[in-house]
């Protein structure tokens, strides 16, 4: 699903080396946690995978598509094949739960019929049935993240990338969101979870890739939080 070959990326024209010679292969259906301290390059890796940044050297292959030198006009095609969620949810405050999810489909040219069919499906998948008409200020942090997850799933992506999705949540909400991600993974979607929550990683009992100063220092099946 994701193949990273000798990937390097630096910011400010070479002064800050964010990633150095990353090699990894994430297979379809996996649930992979990427851990590391703040500043270790986790978000940079996410930005490279969703083509928000271009690598300095190396190769990124997503679902068999080499996106290393992806053209601007091809980026939408890539983004429609993956879902992304973030720590800060990125919801539109003036839209309801339903509208937030529908907005993603509207801007991607789905028909009204498809929108009417898919949005409720996604909302009930993330467990927000009955809260379609709420605005984000009427939702808890966990519920907001569920809306973001519902939105990221409208393309029925094969790959879901979550960059510290529980960073703003208490432990109960964190648990629920992780359970939801596991459920989505069980439905067949590859999940890449970026986190530095030790309890989460240890309870997952799945593959853990640990980054330190832009390098992979460990990559273990059924790994534990090392740092």
């Amino acid at each position: 699903m994701i193949k990273l070959v000798d990937l390097s990326k630096s910011y400010s024209s070479g002064k800050v080396a964010a990633l150095k010679n990353i090699n990894a292969h994430i297979k379809p259906g996996e649930f992979v946690s990427i851990v590391g301290q703040s500043g270790s390059g986790k978000t940079t890796l996410v930005r490279l995978i969703i083509a928000e940044e271009k690598p300095d050297s190396g190769q990124i292959i997503i679902g068999g598509w080499d996106i290393t030198g992806i053209k601007d006009r091809e980026i939408p095609t890539l983004r429609r094949q993956l879902g992304v969620i973030f720590q800060d949810f990125k919801l539109l405050p003036k839209k309801t739960v339903f509208e937030n999810v529908a907005f993603a489909m509207e801007t991607c040219g789905f028909s009204n019929k498809e929108i009417k069919k898919t949005v409720p499906q996604m909302i009930s998948l993330v467990g927000l049935k009955g809260k379609e008409d709420r605005y984000s200020h009427q939702l808890s942090g966990g519920e907001k993240q569920r809306v973001a997850i519902a939105r990221s799933l409208v393309h029925k992506p094969k790959l879901l990338i979550a960059d510290e999705p529980t960073g703003n949540l208490d432990s109960i909400n964190t648990r629920e969101i992780i359970d939801l991600l596991k459920k989505i993974n069980n439905l067949g979607t590859t999940v890449v979870l970026v986190t530095h929550n030790k309890d989460v990683v240890n309870s997952l009992r799945s593959r853990v890739i640990t980054l330190d100063s832009g390098q992979i220092i460990s990559d273990q099946e059924e790994g534990r939080y090392l740092l």
């Binding site: 980026i75 939408p76 429609r80 992304v84 990125k90 907005f103 801007t107 991607c108 040219g109 393309h155």
Partner: protein, 305 residues
Amino acid sequence: MISFFRIIKFALQGVFRNFWLSVVTITMMIMAVLSVTILVAMDYVKEATIASVKNKVDILVELRFNAGSDEVEGLVIELERLTEVKSVRVITPQENLEIFRQRNQDSQISRALDIYDEEENPFSYSLAIGAYDLSQYPQILEFLNQEKYSGLVQVSEFDSHEEFIERINSIAEFVNRYSLYLALIFIAISVIVIFNTIRISIYTRRDEIMIMKLVGAGNSFVRLPFVLESVFYALAAVLLVAAAVYPLVSLLQPVLNNYFQDYSAIDLRNYFIGNLLEIFFYQFIALALINTLSTSVAIRRYLRI
């Protein structure tokens, strides 16, 4: 198709979300359209006036009373030889008398004739000279004012027309110059204002844009609403001016009629009604193009895709 409607929806949202900014934007464009429209109108007034004057006016030369038909014919031949002269028409004393009678049928002035006998005619020969071009009248006058014709030519009338045309030209020139400056200034202001409006519109929607890109909206779907928004501003401005032009011109027409008196060939109202579509369609196209260009620059600068 569905995307097309959504792009329109997004563009309209952009217009109404920053409502007062949109009002200012449209106002600036109205000023630009208005000044260009004044330019167009003034050009019409000028052309129409000069055309009507050209058709009507000859140099009217009143010959001396003692001028006989031979001398008159001699002068006609010499005049016709001039390259500037298009036509010379001889008006006999009899014709002049009739014209005078007709013109003053009902007024006291016709009484002036009462002091003459029936057979007596106080009028002399006169000549109506047409030139190819208005500007040639002075040369023809100069020719007539030569010493050798002083015994023949009494009065040559021309000044009033020359004055009139000069008046039209200077008014037209004055209005044209200032409305051209105004148009240029307002167009420049419009370009800056539209740029800024779109910049703010992009800023207002930055969260939406970020999400659109994140979920894979096409680049044109992200950009086009802004271009369309700027075209809407152009359309609104042109439509508003087009709607206001009839009442405005109706107000102006009596003033024109009053000012130009005999030259009622100037019918601004009809001109605008007849050319409404053309005048404003081209202005819309031009303004839409300008806005699109300005918006493209704003998009390139502020909308990172």
